[in-house]
C-alpha cells in the first residue's frame, strides 16, 4: 500500500511537470508567431505556471483529502483552452486568465467553507427560489447575444445568470430528494424546476434547458429509484421538445441545420459546416498552434466551438484526449458520489457530475453533428467568465465533498 502511494506520488509530480512543460512550450511557440518575440506571452505563461503550482501545493499540503486527480484534469483542460485563447486574442486571454484566478479563489473558498456547513441540505428550497429569480431577471433586464436573451451586461462585462442558477438548482434537487422519498412530496420541487425551464425556453437558451432537464431527470431517478416516474418525466420532456419544435422557428432552424448542413452551407448550416471542416482540416496532429483558420471562418470559435478549434490546431488526437479527460472526470466524480455518506452528499455529488457530463456531451455532440447545436460552452476550456466561474464552483463543491468523505473515512479508521 505504501509503495503504490509513493509510486503514485512520483507520477503526480511527473504529471504536474508535464502540464507545466505544456504551458511553457505553447506560449514560447506563440511568442514567435509575429516576427518579433512577444514578451507578454512569456509573462502569461509564467502566470499560468504559477497558478498551477500554487494549486498543486495547496492540494498536496493543505487540502489533503481533496481530489488531486480532478485538479490535474481541470488544470490540463483549462491550460489547453487558455493557450488557444491567447492564440486567438491576447486581450480576451488576459480576461480569461483573470477569471481563472477568481474562479480558483472561489473554488478554494468553497473547499474551506462547505465541509463545515452541516445544514446545507435544509436550504434546498430557498436555493430553488433564488435560482428562479436569477433566471427571471434576464427576462426583465436581459440583453440578447447570439440569439438568446440570457445575458446581463454591466459596464462591459457580460454575465450569464443561468450559469450560477445551475448550482442553485442542483442544491434544490439534492435537498428535496434527500429529504423525501415519496413522489407526492417532490411536486413542489418539480414545479420550481419546470418554471425554471420555461423561463429558459422563453429566453431561447435551448442548451441550458436541455441541461437542466436531463440533470433533473437523472437526479430524480437516483433519488427515488422509481423507473416509471423517471420515464414519465422524460416523456414529458420529449413532448415539450416536440412542441417547441412545432412552435418555435429557431428550433426548426437548428434541427434542419443539424440534419442537412450541406444543403445550406452558407446560411443555416454555416457554423456546423465550418466546424466539420475545421475538425477535419486539422488531421491527427493538427495544423499547428497558430496556423489554423478557424478564427476567420468559424464564429464563436473561442467559446461554443472551442472543441473544433482544438481539433484544427492541436489535432484530432488531442481533441479525443480532451474528451477522454472529461470521461475520467465523470468516472472519478461518480466514485466520489459512491464514497459519500448521506443521501444529500451523494445526490449532490452526482448532480455536479451530471451537469459537467451533460454539458460536455451536448457541446461536443453538437459540434460534431451528433445532436443539433445548442448554446452550451465546454466547461473549463471555452472562453466565458460565468462559465468558468460556475464550473470551478462546481468542482469546488466536488472537492469539498471529497474532503468530507476523506475525513469521515479517517475517522472510521481510528
Amino acid at each position: 500500500m505504501e509503495e503504490t502511494k509513493t509510486k503514485k506520488k512520483t507520477l503526480t509530480n511527473g504529471l504536474i511537470f508535464a502540464i507545466t512543460l505544456f504551458i511553457l512550450v505553447s506560449y514560447t511557440l506563440l511568442s514567435l508567431r509575429n516576427g518579433s518575440i512577444d514578451y507578454t506571452a512569456m509573462l502569461f505563461s509564467l502566470a499560468c505556471v504559477a497558478l498551477v503550482l500554487v494549486q498543486y501545493l495547496l492540494f498536496r499540503f493543505v487540502f489533503v483529502n481533496a481530489d488531486l486527480q480532478v485538479m490535474i484534469i481541470v488544470s490540463m483542460l483549462t491550460n489547453i483552452g487558455l493557450a488557444l485563447q491567447y492564440r486567438f486574442d491576447s486581450q480576451t486571454a488576459v480576461k480569461q486568465l483573470i477569471w481563472y484566478g477568481i474562479s480558483l479563489a472561489v473554488m478554494f473558498m468553497i473547499m474551506i467553507i462547505m465541509p463545515r456547513m452541516r445544514n446545507l441540505k435544509r436550504f434546498g428550497f430557498v436555493c430553488g427560489i433564488l435560482g428562479v429569480l436569477l433566471l427571471g431577471i434576464t427576462i426583465v433586464i436581459g440583453t440578447e447575444i447570439n440569439g438568446s436573451t440570457n445575458w446581463i451586461v454591466i459596464k462591459g462585462f457580460s454575465i450569464q445568470p443561468s450559469e450560477p442558477a445551475k448550482i442553485l438548482m442542483i442544491l434544490l434537487l439534492a435537498g428535496s430528494l434527500a429529504k423525501h422519498q415519496q413522489i407526492r412530496r417532490l411536486f413542489p420541487t418539480g414545479i420550481i424546476v419546470g418554471i425554471a425551464m420555461i423561463l429558459l425556453v422563453l429566453q431561447k437558451d435551448l442548451g441550458a434547458t436541455l441541461l437542466y432537464f436531463c440533470t433533473a431527470v437523472l437526479m430524480l431517478y437516483l433519488g427515488t429509484g422509481n423507473f416509471s416516474v423517471t420515464a414519465l418525466a422524460f416523456l414529458l420532456g420529449a413532448i415539450g421538445a416536440a412542441v417547441s419544435y412545432v412552435l418555435f422557428s429557431h428550433v426548426r432552424v437548428r434541427v434542419f441545420a443539424w440534419l442537412n448542413p450541406w444543403e445550406d452551407p452558407l446560411g443555416r448550416g454555416y457554423q456546423l459546416v465550418q466546424s466539420l471542416i475545421a475538425i477535419s482540416s486539422g488531421g491527427l496532429f493538427g495544423m499547428g498552434l497558430g496556423m489554423g483558420e478557424a478564427a476567420t471562418y468559424l464564429p464563436q470559435h473561442e467559446s461554443d466551438f472551442i472543441f473544433s478549434s482544438i481539433c484544427e490546431e492541436y489535432g484530432q488526437i488531442i481533441g479525443l484526449c480532451v474528451a477522454a479527460f472529461y470521461i475520467v472526470l465523470i468516472f472519478r466524480g461518480c466514485i466520489l458520489a459512491l464514497r459519500s455518506r448521506g443521501r444529500f452528499d451523494s445526490i449532490l455529488c452526482f448532480g455536479i457530475v451530471s451537469i459537467l457530463a451533460i454539458q460536455t456531451f451536448i457541446n461536443i455532440g453538437g459540434v460534431v453533428k451528433l445532436i443539433p447545436l445548442t448554446g452550451v460552452t465546454l466547461p473549463f476550456v471555452s472562453y466565458g467568465g460565468s462559465s468558468m466561474l460556475t464550473s470551478f464552483a462546481l468542482i469546488g463543491m466536488l472537492q469539498a465533498l471529497s474532503i468530507k468523505a476523506g475525513e469521515a473515512d479517517e475517522q472510521n479508521q481510528s
Partner: protein, 465 residues
C-alpha cells in the same frame, strides 16, 4: 444507502457509455467523411497553405516538362500549343470546371505535403519557400500530339494503353481548351463537353465493337463454336425481331470468324438469342467490367452498363452493341488490352512515378485489375480480331509486317449520324499497344475511325514509348 449506491453505479456506467459513444461517433465520422469535408468547396484553407510552396512540375514519360511553377500561385505550361491542348483534360483547369484532374488528385504531392517534416524544415532554413514534388506521367508527348492532330478537330476521344503494364500512352478528348490562356469568361462560352474528359467520363453505345464481348461469350459457352452458322439476308428477322446489318448489306452464309470479320448484326443477334441467352452474355460482360464500380487511384471513370433483360429484342440489339449498353473509351481500351494480354486486364494509370525532391524517382507499380478470360479464349478472339483487319471491316488499319487486331463499330444514334468506333491492339512483343478511338457523329467506324487509329498506331510503332 445501498440502493442509492446501486443506482449510482448504473448512472456511472450510463455516463461513461454515452461519452464513449460520442467518442466513437467522432472517430467514425472523421475517419469516414473527414477527407470529404476538408476537400469541400467551402474550405478555404487548403489554398492559403499553398502560398508558401512552389508547386512541383508535371513531366511526360520522357521527361518533357508540361506544367511547372516558378513562384507560388502561378502555373506555367509548355510553349507547345498542340501539346497543351492535347493535355488539357489530363492536367485540369484552374477554375474548377473539371473535377478530379491529375493536378488536383496529386495536389498533395505537388505541394510537397508528402515530404517528411524534417526535409521541409531543413529546406525552409535556407529558403523562404518550399518546393513540391513533381510527377511523371505515363503519357508520351509525341504520341499525344499526334493523336490530337489525327483527330483533326472532330469531337470524340482517343486513348492508347500499354496492355502489359496498363500505362496510358495517349489520352485525348475533344473539344478541348487551352490551360494557359483560359479566362473566366471563356469557361462560359465553350462548346458542350469541353470540360469533360471523354476518355474516362464519356459514355457511348459501343456499337459493333461490343461484338468482341459477344464473341468471347460464344467461345466460352458454346460447345462447338465452329459449328455456328448463319445465313445473312441483309434485313434479317431473328425471333420476330428485325435486325438489319448496316446499309442492309447481304453477307450470305457465315460462320463465327467471317461474321465477326464482316461485322454481321444478324448473325450475332441470332446466336445471342439462340445459343447464348441473356444470362451468359451478361456474365461475360460483367467479367469484363460492365456494371462494376471502377475505383482507380489516378482518376474517376464512369461505370459501363450492360442490361439486356428486356426480352429478346433487347438481347438481340444489345448483343451488337446497341440497346441500353454504354461504355467509356477507356473501358473499351481496357477490354482489348485484356484480350491482348492473355486475359489479364491491367489497371490503366496515368502516373508513371513521383519525382520526389528528397528521395528521387519513385516508380508506381503496374496492377492487374482482373483476369477476365482464359488464355485460350484470348488467343482465339485475337485471331478473329486479326481477321477483321486482314480481310474485314478494319482493313484500312493494315500495317505491313505488323499483326494488328481490331474491331470496328458504327454505333447508331437516334436522329443523328452514328458514332465511329475502332478498338484494337498490336499483337507484337515489342510494341504492346492497345487503342480505342471514337469520333462522335462522324460516320462509320471503318471509314472514319480506322484511319485515325492507324495513324496513331503507326506513330506508336515508330516511337516505341
Amino acid at each position: 444507502m445501498n440502493r442509492i449506491n446501486h443506482r449510482l453505479r448504473v448512472l456511472q456506467v450510463l455516463f461513461i457509455a454515452l461519452m464513449i459513444a460520442l467518442g466513437s461517433y467522432f472517430v467514425y465520422s472523421v475517419a469516414k467523411y473527414g477527407k470529404q469535408w476538408s476537400h469541400s468547396a467551402y474550405n478555404t484553407r487548403t489554398k492559403s497553405g499553398y502560398d508558401l510552396v512552389i508547386q512541383g512540375s508535371v513531366y511526360d514519360r520522357n521527361g518533357t516538362e508540361i506544367a511547372w511553377s516558378d513562384a507560388p500561385n502561378t502555373r506555367l505550361y509548355s510553349d507547345d500549343e498542340v501539346l497543351r491542348l492535347s493535355m488539357a483534360h489530363i492536367l485540369g483547369d484552374r477554375y474548377g470546371m473539371m473535377s478530379g484532374a491529375l493536378q488536383d488528385r496529386y495536389a498533395n504531392t505537388l505541394f510537397g505535403n508528402e515530404r517528411s517534416l524534417l526535409s521541409r524544415f531543413t529546406e525552409s532554413v535556407e529558403n523562404d519557400l518550399l518546393t513540391g514534388d513533381s510527377i511523371r506521367l505515363t503519357i508520351d508527348g509525341e504520341i499525344q500530339k499526334h493523336a490530337y492532330n489525327a483527330m483533326n478537330g472532330r469531337s470524340g476521344a482517343a486513348v492508347v494503353l500499354n496492355y502489359k503494364t496498363g500505362e496510358v500512352i495517349a489520352s485525348v478528348s475533344l473539344p478541348t481548351f487551352d490551360t494557359l490562356n483560359l479566362t473566366a469568361e471563356d469557361t462560359q462560352n465553350m462548346p458542350d463537353g469541353t470540360f469533360i474528359n471523354k476518355v474516362t467520363r464519356g459514355l457511348y453505345p459501343p456499337g459493333s465493337t461490343f461484338k468482341v464481348i459477344t464473341a468471347v461469350s460464344l467461345l466460352e459457352n458454346c460447345d462447338n463454336c465452329d459449328a455456328l452458322h448463319f445465313d445473312c439476308l441483309g434485313e434479317n428477322i431473328v425471333d420476330g425481331v428485325s435486325v438489319n446489318c448496316f446499309h442492309g448489306t447481304v453477307h450470305g452464309d457465315l460462320d463465327l470468324n467471317s461474321a465477326f470479320a464482316r461485322s454481321c448484326n444478324g448473325a450475332f443477334a441470332y446466336w445471342a438469342v439462340h445459343d447464348l441467352g441473356v444470362r451468359n452474355i451478361t456474365k461475360t460482360a460483367e467479367a469484363f467490367g460492365f456494371n462494376r464500380n471502377f475505383v482507380f487511384s489516378d482518376y474517376t471513370i464512369n461505370n459501363s452498363t450492360f442490361d439486356a433483360y428486356g426480352g429478346n429484342a433487347d438481347l438481340a440489339w444489345s448483343a451488337v452493341g446497341q440497346g441500353q449498353t454504354m461504355v467509356t473509351p477507356m473501358h473499351a481500351a481496357m477490354i482489348v488490352s485484356a484480350i491482348a494480354n492473355n486475359g489479364n486486364m491491367c489497371e490503366p494509370r496515368y502516373l508513371r512515378g513521383i519525382e520526389s525532391v528528397d528521395k528521387g524517382f519513385i516508380e508506381t507499380a503496374p496492377k492487374v485489375y482482373a483476369n477476365v478470360m482464359s488464355q485460350e479464349t484470348a488467343e482465339r478472339i485475337t485471331e478473329m480480331m486479326l481477321g477483321v483487319v486482314e480481310n474485314g471491316t478494319g482493313s484500312g488499319c493494315k500495317i505491313s509486317g505488323v499483326r494488328i487486331c481490331g474491331k470496328t463499330g458504327t454505333a447508331e444514334v437516334a436522329d443523328e449520324a452514328p458514332h465511329a468506333w475502332f478498338v484494337g491492339f498490336i499483337d507484337e512483343e515489342e510494341t504492346p499497344y492497345a487503342i480505342a478511338v471514337i469520333l462522335e457523329n462522324a460516320g462509320t467506324g471503318s471509314s472514319v475511325a480506322v484511319p485515325v487509329a492507324r495513324s496513331i498506331l503507326e506513330k506508336c510503332i515508330e516511337v516505341r514509348p
